[in-house]
C-alpha cells in the first residue's frame, strides 16, 4: 500500500520551492559583483558641442552630483531612456553630462531638437576612445559621479527605477 503522506509531502515540498523561486524572481541579480565603487573619474580632453575644448578636471566639481551619460543618435535604447533624463534635468541638484559616442554631428543635433536636450554639457567622443577609458560596455551607459568618484554605474538604458534611485541618492 502506498502511503498517503508521501505524495502530500512531495507536493508540499515542490510548492515551497515554487514560492521561493517566485519570490526570488523579484530580487534578481544577486550575484552581481559590486562594480566600480569609489573609482576616480578618468580624465579626458574633448571638444564640446559648441566647439570648445573641454578638460574633465574643469567640469567635475567636488560638492556636486553629475550623471555622465554615453549616448548616440543611432542608438535605439537611448531614445527610450531620454524621457527619464529629461525628468532628471528638472532636478537642480544634479548636472547631466552628455558623452556623444561615435555619432554624426547633424544627427545628434536633430536628435536633441526632437526629444529635448537634457544635458548641461555635451562632449563629443568621435572615435569612441574616451569611452574605453571609462570602461564602458556600450551605448547607452551612465555613471553617477560625486566628489570625482564614480559612485554608481548603469549599464544599458536608464529606467524609472534607476531614476528614482538617483533621486534618492542626491536628496
Amino acid at each position: 500500500m502506498k502511503s498517503k503522506v508521501f505524495p502530500l509531502v512531495l507536493i508540499l515540498f515542490f510548492f515551497i520551492i515554487f514560492v521561493i523561486f517566485f519570490k526570488g524572481l523579484k530580487n534578481s541579480n544577486i550575484y552581481t559583483p559590486k562594480t566600480n565603487l569609489e573609482i576616480k573619474v578618468p580624465s579626458f580632453e574633448l571638444k564640446s558641442f559648441e566647439n570648445n575644448n573641454i578638460i574633465s578636471e574643469t567640469i567635475f566639481k567636488d560638492d556636486e552630483y553629475y550623471l555622465m551619460n554615453i549616448w548616440a543618435s543611432w542608438c535605439i535604447p537611448c531614445r527610450e531612456e531620454h524621457e527619464f533624463l529629461m525628468e532628471l534635468k528638472k532636478n537642480q541638484k544634479i548636472k547631466l553630462i552628455g558623452f556623444n559616442y561615435k555619432d554624426n554631428f547633424k544627427n545628434a543635433k536633430s536628435f536633441l531638437k526632437d526629444l529635448g536636450n537634457p544635458y548641461d554639457i555635451i562632449v563629443i567622443d568621435e572615435d569612441g576612445t574616451s569611452s574605453i577609458d571609462w570602461g564602458a560596455y556600450g551605448v547607452p551607459e551612465s555613471f553617477l559621479i560625486y566628489q570625482n568618484n564614480i559612485i554608481k554605474r548603469f549599464i544599458g538604458p536608464i529606467n524609472n527605477d534607476d531614476l528614482l534611485g538617483i533621486q534618492k541618492i542626491i536628496k
Binding site: 526570488g24 534578481s28 560596455y137
Partner: protein, 625 residues
C-alpha cells in the same frame, strides 16, 4: 523578408501541434496501429521550425537590422562564422534552437520506435507536445526572435566579444542536444508509466536515447569548460559557478539513470529509480534554463533579465513537475516486484551504492547553487558559495566512490565472491606506494591527498587490466571508466602541481623567480576585421636553458566596445604554460599572469574518452555482461 517567413512558419508550427494532439487522441481510441498522419504532421512541424531557424540565420548573415534580435546581437564587421553563431548566442535565438531540437528529436523518435507498442508511442508524443507547445508559446509571447524595428538602424550593437570563440560557437547546440534529449526520456518515462510499460523492453529501447543525450551533454559541458579556460583568462577550467553547476546537475542525474537503465535492462529492478531519474534529469535541465534565463543568477549566460520570462518558465516547469508527480503517484505501481533482493556482493549492488553517491554529489551541487537564493529570499542575507564548499563536501566521498567504481565491474550479476580477486590487493598496494611517493615530494596535507590519489590510481590500474584481460568485451564501459580515472588523476595532479606568478611588467622588464625568468620584450599592434589587437611578446627562460616565446593578446573590439584578454597557451603532453596580460589604466605597466598547469590536456582527453565510451555503447547491438 527572411524574418517574415521565419515568423510565419513559427505560427504554422504551433498550429500543427493542434493537429497532432487532435489526431493522437483520436488515434488512441480508434485504431490498433499508429496513424501515419501523425508521423507526417510531426515531421511537417519540424520543417516549419527549420524554416523559421534558417530565416533567422539568413537575417543574421545578411545583417538585416530591421530584425531586433539581429540588431541587438550582430554587426556588419563581424566575421561570417560569428554572424551565424550569433543566431544562438542570444536568448531568443537559443530558444528557437531548443524548439528545433525538440521537434527534431520527437520526429526521430516516432520514426525509430515502430517496434514499440502504439499506446506508448502516442503518449510519448503527447507529453512531448505539451513541452513543445509550452516552448512555442514562450517563444512567440515573450521572446520572439523576429521583432521588427523601424526605422531600420544602419548598424547593429554587436555580439559580446567573449562569446566570439569557436568552442563557444558550437557549445550551445551540442549542450542543447543533451538537454533536449532528456525531454524525450522524460516524455517516454511518463508514457511508460501511463501504459504500464516499465519493462526490460522499455529499458532496451530508451537506452539509446539516454546514451545519446549523455554523450552530447558530456561533450557540451567540456566545450564550455574549454572556452572558460581559454577565454576567461583565469587559468581554471571549472569554477563552481552557478551556471556551470546547472549543467552538471542533469549530468549527474543522467549518468545515474544510464546505470539504472543498464540494470533494468538486465534484471527488472531499480525501476522506481529509473522513473524518478528520468523525470529529474529533465526537470533539472529545465530549472537550469529557468535559473539562467530569469536573471535570478547572473553570468555570461544571462542574456536579458526579464522577470516575465522567468515567471513563464517557472510556471511551465512546475506544471511539468506536478504533472509527473501526479502520474508517478497514480499510474505507477510496483505490483510485479520480483527478484528484488540484492546480494551484498554483486554488480547491481555496487551500481546501487554508487547511485547513492551520485545522488549525494547531486545534492551537494544543488544545495550549493540554490541555497543562496533561498537564504536571500527568506532572510535577505547574501552569501556566496565557492569552491571550498564543494571541495570539502565532494572530495572525501570521491574515495569510496572510486573504489566501488573499480571493484563493481569486476563482480558478477546477482552473486559474486572474492575468488580470483587477489590482483586487486596487489593493485591497491602499488597504487598506495605510487601515490605516497608522489605526494611526499610536495608540501601538502599528506593523508587525504595520498588516499585520494590512491583510489584514482586503483581505478586506473583495474580498468587498465580489463583492456588486456577482457579485450573487446564491455569495451565501452571500460573506456568510460578508464577515462574517469584519468580525469580524476589529471584534476588532482593539476591542482597539486600548479604554479602561478602574478606581476606588473613594463616593456623591456624582466621578472625573476627561482625556476624561471619572464622577459617582456615588446608589443605590436594590428588591426583585425572587428577588433584591434595588441600582442605582447614574452620570453620565458627556464633553469635548464630551454625557453618559450609566448604572445598573449589584448583585443579592443569596436562593437560593442569591450577589451578582452586572450591567453597564449603552450600545450604539450605534460604541462600547459599559460600567460595573460592586462592593461592597467593610465600606466605603462601591464599586469602579467603566468601559470604552469600540468596535465591540462589530459583533462580534455579523458573527458573525450569518457564520452567516446558512451558513443561506442550506442552502436553496440546487445549488452554483454
Amino acid at each position: 523578408m527572411a524574418s517574415l517567413i521565419g515568423s510565419y512558419s513559427l505560427g504554422f508550427g504551433l498550429f500543427f501541434s493542434v493537429f497532432i494532439i487532435f489526431f493522437s487522441i483520436r488515434n488512441l481510441r480508434n485504431s490498433e496501429v499508429l496513424d501515419k498522419k501523425i508521423v507526417s504532421f510531426t515531421i511537417i512541424q519540424f520543417f516549419f521550425v527549420i524554416i523559421s531557424f534558417l530565416g533567422l540565420i539568413l537575417s543574421f548573415i545578411n545583417s538585416d537590422f530591421s530584425n531586433e534580435t539581429v540588431f541587438n546581437h550582430s554587426h556588419t564587421t563581424k566575421p561570417l562564422f560569428y554572424k551565424i553563431s550569433g543566431t544562438w548566442g542570444n536568448h531568443e535565438g537559443s530558444l528557437l534552437l531548443w524548439l528545433l531540437v525538440l521537434t527534431l528529436f520527437i520526429s526521430i523518435f516516432l520514426v525509430k520506435s515502430n517496434q514499440q507498442p502504439k499506446k506508448y508511442r502516442i503518449f510519448t508524443l503527447l507529453f512531448q507536445q505539451i513541452i513543445i507547445v509550452g516552448f512555442f508559446i514562450f517563444l512567440i509571447k515573450t521572446s520572439s526572435p523576429f521583432n521588427y524595428i523601424f526605422p531600420t538602424p544602419s548598424e547593429g550593437l554587436g555580439l559580446n566579444p567573449i562569446l566570439q570563440d569557436p568552442a563557444l560557437a558550437i557549445h550551445p547546440p551540442i549542450l542543447y542536444l543533451g538537454y533536449v534529449g532528456s525531454s524525450i526520456i522524460f516524455s517516454s518515462a511518463l508514457a511508460a508509466m501511463v501504459t504500464s510499460y516499465v519493462t526490460k523492453e522499455w529499458a532496451k529501447h530508451i537506452k539509446r536515447w539516454v546514451l545519446a543525450s549523455w554523450f552530447f551533454l558530456t561533450l557540451g559541458i567540456m566545450l564550455g569548460s574549454i572556452w572558460a579556460y581559454y577565454e576567461l583568462g583565469w587559468g581554471g577550467f571549472w569554477f563552481w559557478d552557478p551556471v556551470e553547476n546547472v549543467s552538471l546537475m542533469p549530468w549527474f542525474a543522467l549518468t545515474t539513470l544510464l546505470h539504472c537503465i543498464l540494470v533494468l535492462e538486465k534484471k527488472k529492478i531499480l525501476r522506481s529509480w529509473a522513473m524518478i531519474l528520468s523525470i529529474a534529469t529533465f526537470a533539472l535541465s529545465m530549472s537550469g534554463t529557468f535559473l539562467v534565463r530569469s536573471g535570478i543568477l547572473n553570468s555570461v549566460h544571462t542574456f536579458a533579465n526579464d522577470p516575465e520570462r522567468g515567471l513563464f518558465i517557472l510556471i511551465f516547469l512546475f506544471t511539468l513537475i506536478f504533472l509527473s508527480i501526479f502520474i508517478f503517484i497514480f499510474f505507477y505501481s510496483e505490483k510485479d516486484k520480483i527478484e528484488n533482493s540484492f546480494f551484498w556482493l554483486s554488480k547491481e549492488t555496487s551500481i546501487l551504492v554508487n547511485n547513492w553517491f551520485m545522488m549525494y554529489f547531486l545534492s551537494v551541487v544543488l544545495i550549493g547553487t540554490i541555497y543562496p537564493i533561498f537564504l536571500e529570499v527568506i532572510t535577505a542575507n547574501k552569501i556566496s558559495v565557492g569552491p571550498p564548499f564543494y571541495n570539502k563536501l565532494i572530495l572525501p566521498f570521491l574515495i569510496p566512490f572510486l573504489f566501488v567504481m573499480a571493484i563493481g565491474p569486476q563482480l558478477n550479476w546477482v552473486k559474486s565472491d572474492f575468488k580470483d580477486k587477489f590482483y586487486m590487493i596487489i593493485f591497491l598496494i602499488i597504487s598506495f606506494l605510487l601515490s605516497a611517493l608522489i605526494i611526499k615530494e610536495f608540501n601538502i596535507s599528506f593523508l587525504i591527498n595520498t588516499i585520494l590519489v590512491t583510489s584514482a590510481f586503483f581505478l586506473f590500474f583495474c580498468t587498465l587490466r580489463e583492456f588486456f584481460i577482457k579485450r573487446f568485451k564491455n569495451l565501452s564501459q571500460n573506456i568510460a571508466h578508464f577515462g574517469f580515472s584519468l580525469l580524476i588523476l589529471s584534476i588532482l595532479f593539476n591542482n597539486i602541481f600548479s604554479n602561478e606568478v602574478i606581476t606588473n611588467l613594463k616593456i623591456g622588464e624582466t621578472f625573476k623567480s627561482e625556476k624561471f625568468t619572464i622577459n617582456f620584450e615588446n608589443i605590436e599592434q594590428a588591426d583585425e576585421k572587428n577588433f584591434k589587437a595588441i600582442t605582447g611578446k614574452f620570453n620565458v627562460k627556464y633553469l635548464d636553458g630551454s625557453s618559450d616565446i609566448l604572445n598573449p593578446e589584448l583585443r579592443i573590439y569596436n562593437q560593442p566596445n569591450i577589451i578582452t584578454s586572450e591567453a597564449d597557451i603552450k600545450t604539450n603532453l605534460f604541462t600547459d604554460k599559460f600567460i595573460t596580460m592586462n592593461y592597467i589604466q593610465n600606466q605603462e605597466y601591464f599586469n602579467v599572469r603566468y601559470q604552469v598547469k600540468p596535465f591540462m590536456i589530459w583533462i580534455w582527453i579523458s573527458v573525450i574518452l569518457i564520452s567516446f565510451g558512451g558513443f561506442l555503447s550506442f552502436f553496440k547491438k546487445k549488452y554483454e555482461i
